[in-house]
């Protein structure tokens, strides 16, 4: 009865505090939308590489044709032709294009010549007469790649490897064709077999998921919605601490201290109420992820299939956030102290927890420290649940950590609060 009375009182205090309501609901919703929009481009940048590449085609032969077609078939690269090599270099240097592929005059013919010579020697060694010369030109045929000095290393690597792969495919195609050509020369006429390197082997790339056809890669929405939801839940300390300290300063807490047996209901009631507020925040933010984000041109939040696991994680995060807020509220004596320490500590915990940027892009030392952030425990669980369809068993260790954190902060809050009753 006393706990319910406190929950109802906290409800009335909150609904009559427009600033507190805005801080709890409106601002986090705005924050998650803004952050998802801002980080959408960088996330796409990482995972959906879009590059504009200049092709300086002085060769004007089959290699340049195959190169252009192969680059464009990746879907990530747009090829723009440029005849002037110096102008191409300047455009790349200025950052207008990420790279320039230069096929010098006679590249196709030189490569074909080398192939002819190589196959001629092989065929002759096999005892087959061939009219082709067997001396091999040792210097390799050059193909130049110029990169934007500001290009990301992984882009440079991907593009370089892509070009080498295309060249290797063209070479193997020509080698097979040349081999067939030389072996069927003279009296040994054989029908030629058309060779397509793509028919030899196919590399299937897919996500290791129960539903591999679903697009479940980490995107801006999948990262930002759970991340900023937890950030908002931990910011519950603002209304919690400010109301608590206000009650202390205004005297109503003194009256409660004068009422025997009211201390546990006061703490338990506040904890319960703000726990429900956190859960409400969670539901609202998830709803925004599912229904509002697609309207803004962002991905729809995909929750995975473990609803129980999601609820369990949300409850444990809400408990941890409320416990932390309560501890800040009882420990500090002025709103300035509580709110300054509280907000900075939540920002630090969230940064370490991977809210701002994913933990995997952090330095190793920070990745180690991040393991101690409750926000990291929650975010890791949500990522496992949303993207990997994790089982409840998988997320239990993080859940236990969050609940343990909650109990420690709750007990500490109660003890600190009780110790201040008598001084």
């Amino acid at each position: 009865m006393k706990i319910w009375a406190t929950i109802w009182k906290e409800f009335l205090l909150l609904v009559r505090d427009p600033g507190g309501m805005a801080l709890i609901f409106a601002m986090p919703l705005a924050l998650v939308i803004v952050m998802a929009l801002i980080q959408d481009a960088p996330f796409r940048d990482y995972q959906e590489i879009k590059l504009e590449v200049l092709l300086v085609d002085q060769d004007k032969d089959s290699l340049s044709y195959k190169m252009k077609r192969a680059l464009e078939s990746t879907g990530n690269i747009t090829v723009v032709k440029e005849n002037d090599l110096e102008r191409a270099k300047k455009l790349v240097q200025a950052g207008e294009f990420k790279a320039s592929v230069v096929l010098h005059k006679g590249t196709t013919q030189a490569l074909k010549k080398k192939t002819e010579q190589l196959i001629g020697k092989i065929v002759r060694n096999m005892g087959v007469e061939t009219p082709f010369i067997d001396s091999i030109e040792t210097s390799p045929v050059p193909l130049d790649l110029y990169f934007d000095p500001a290009i990301k290393v992984n882009y440079k690597q991907a593009l370089g490897e892509g070009i080498e792969k295309i060249v290797a495919q063209v070479q193997s195609e020509w080698i097979i064709m040349e081999l067939q050509s030389q072996l069927s020369s003279g009296e040994n006429k054989h029908p030629k077999v058309k060779f397509n390197p793509g028919e030899m082997m196919v590399v299937n790339q897919q996500y290791a998921s129960d539903k591999p056809k679903e697009r479940l890669a980490l995107n801006s929405v999948q990262h930002n919605v759970p991340a900023w939801t937890m950030f908002a839940m931990f910011f519950i300390l603002f209304p919690l601490a400010s109301n608590f300290i206000k009650e202390r300063e205004e005297g109503s807490m003194l009256r409660l201290r004068l009422i025997s047996g009211s201390q546990f209901p006061v703490i338990a009631g506040k904890f319960s109420f703000y726990f429900f507020v956190c859960m409400l925040q969670f539901v609202l933010m998830i709803a925004v992820g599912i229904f509002v984000m697609p309207l803004l041109g962002l991905n729809e939040l995909v929750l995975g299939s473990n609803v129980f696991g999601i609820l369990l994680t949300a409850c444990s995060v809400a408990m941890a956030a409320t416990g932390y807020g309560l501890l800040i509220a009882v420990f500090f004596k002025t709103p300035q102290q509580a709110l300054s320490f509280g907000s900075i500590s939540v920002v630090i915990l969230s940064a370490l927890g991977g809210v701002w940027v994913p933990v995997y892009v952090m330095p190793e030392i920070l990745q180690t420290i991040s393991k101690f952030s409750p926000l990291q425990w929650g975010l890791e669980s949500f990522t496992d649940l949303f993207l990997r369809n994790a089982t409840t068993l998988t997320i239990l260790p993080n859940t236990f950590k969050l609940i343990g954190f909650s109990f420690v902060t709750l007990i500490a809050s109660f003890l600190v609060h009780k110790s201040r009753i008598i001084s």
Binding site: W8, L254, R257, I422
Partner: protein, 249 residues
Amino acid sequence: MSGAIVQINNVSKQYKGAQQPAVSHLTLEISKGSVFGLLGPNGAGKSTLVMLLCGLLKPDEGSIQVLDLKVGESSAAIREKIGVAPQEIALFPTLTAHENLFYFGRMYGLQTEVLKKRIDEYVNTFGLQDKMHKRVQTFSGGMKRRLNLIAALLHDPSLIILDEPTAGVDVQSRNMILEFLLTLKAKGVTILYSSHFLEEAERICTHLAIVDEGKLLVTGKPDILLAENPDCKNLEELFLKRTGKTMRD
């Protein structure tokens, strides 16, 4: 004094960092059914003594018994039986008067029917029936004081402790509060009345004590104290005689 409801024995309390004790070797008894005036200038130690009685402060030395229970060992049990109206307006400003009283009544563990009955009774007594659904932040100082007093009475306490209950109120509100205290006095309810309004004390107190700088200067029945000090025509003169005319911060 026989039938003491409060016994304060040689109690001292000094706050951390303070240069002198707020209460110093103070011994006092309050008998059952009395209206005991605790008088003193600002900073005399009255509020500290009230907090010591409620068990919210721990004395550095000495002992206190309230309702035959030792403060410190049985503070929770004592708080169940006493009603305290602190000097601060100990209410939630953004809640209505009814919401405040209902919440505090619930925290006292009162059942709904009993609580409703008591709230109705007291708000009628204090003339707040039309204001019950207004937020406390819109109340005048006098209305807040009356509500503050009602919140201390909801659980029907055996001892009522009032710390400056008429501070900052208008004449009408003050009169209403004093009239109510006189009805309680007539019913034999024990009241500890801390104030520096001497004419109020003269009007309602059966016993009083004047304290200053944490020390007990004088205690007894007002008429006897005045008789013992024939040079003082009233309590104010006795008060000034005992505490001096030096200004207090």
